[in-house]
Symmetry: D2
Subunit: 145 residues, 4 copies
């Protein structure tokens, strides 16, 4: 059973904007990248072609609160925590910490994804596959504050 995942990455030049900091939309790419790393750590890919019709996890809600600027070449830790788990829906909390110099919290995000089945021309919410669901649990409350 897993309720968290951590990954560290270095900010790239192309992720900055003319304000000299990481463009705010890129935090959503960072969240997704940690989410996919979480599935891989559990032995899965977010693209589940082994099912017929194949399953996917489109986003229904995404948000981010920005506290401090993040700059080129900063080392960033993304800490994913499972915040909610429903039969068809998962919500992840993300804590962004700069690990260059003394660690400070940069931002905090949320992502809500729904498990769907992709038939040609239609998408339908379906239960998360038992094999994957059995590996995921909600994080302890004290980590979610």
């Amino acid at each position: 059973m897993a309720f968290e995942f951590k990954v560290t990455r270095r900010v790239e030049f192309s992720e900055t904007d003319m304000a000299g900091i990481v463009h705010f939309a890129n935090f959503f790419r960072y969240m997704e990248s940690a989410e996919h790393g979480f599935y891989r750590a559990l032995g899965h890919s977010v693209v589940m072609h082994q099912f017929d019709p194949p399953l996917g996890f489109p986003r229904v809600h995404a948000e981010c609160d920005y506290r401090k600027p993040l700059r080129f070449e900063d080392l960033l830790e993304i800490h994913l925590l499972v915040k909610e788990k429903k039969p068809r829906v998962l919500t992840y909390l993300f804590k962004f910490r700069k690990v260059t110099g003394e660690p400070i919290e940069i931002a905090r995000g949320l992502l809500t994804v729904v498990c769907v089945s992709h038939s040609p021309g239609k998408m339908e919410a379906v239960p998360i596959p038992a094999e994957l669901s059995a590996q995921i649990e909600v994080a302890p409350a004290e980590l979610l504050v």
Copy 2:
């Protein structure tokens, strides 16, 4: 006094992902692009070099709810509405409508920005310049639902 701004754009190939739809992070670029168009329509740029030290509007909160997929070559209308106005802070609501075929709401977003003064090595929240503030008002409640 202005409380809204509309802009239409066509979805580009590079904005899609392997799921065949617009990548969810790109909706935040769309929001920002409409926000900057709003300032330009008022005769300003978001980068206010005419002040010393220069002013900017970093984002402190961003969120989006996704309802329908958006695809390559779809025509998208982004409707910005001023949701809240405080001396240093503005919150915008964005309604995304597909205007290809019958208009349907694709997504809805929020962006909260703070007016800051950029001195070398520090950023400080300051009141929105009177000249700009005087041009902006909160949208009527019935448009914000």
Copy 3:
């Protein structure tokens, strides 16, 4: 018969980087966007689902020479010219001109695309459909210098 296409766009904030100019990789997105506008002007989409198997135009070569910096809110004209036409291959020349202030050439690009047929699990170069090919001709030599 068409040998050129022009489109104007305004540089967006998210296209800049911390050097204060448009990130060099974005010129390739601009080229592609003009290429797709060219097909639309001819009544086609680059994604040709009306064929079975569907056709596409993957890139085999892309290049760009950068002469002047391009900045946020600059108006940019992208001028596509058909440089070479072979049965399965098209090469486009792109002239990037800033149209804010006095027009200056910012950059110049090349894109070579191949017409392919997408069967599941394989991609094969095929002749450009006659209907599309009949509409495209090489630009006059004096425009290609």
Copy 4:
């Protein structure tokens, strides 16, 4: 003296497009990311604030030849090789290899950068700082084929 640098990265979902492969413009971001890793490995950053006025390395030419598609979650090795070294100009060759399954060459790129000094309102080509230049040499010819 260094003439090469290798870095491996995993393809992210947001780097793909609706054709199911990595969008061609992203190879230029990959090149730049390896270039910056090369400077870091030599103890430098591409943003050289220690000089007054600060130095930078804008791109004057970029190109890429695409041979095979690259897909989500593929592991990609980027192999930077110094191809040419002039007093003010460096040209890098990049070999992209997929390291998932049997290694195959995916693409090959070139990037030419110029050392410039950034005074307010002007940019001027200057010699590469001796300290950096002394660490860089052209790769052996047999690696450049």
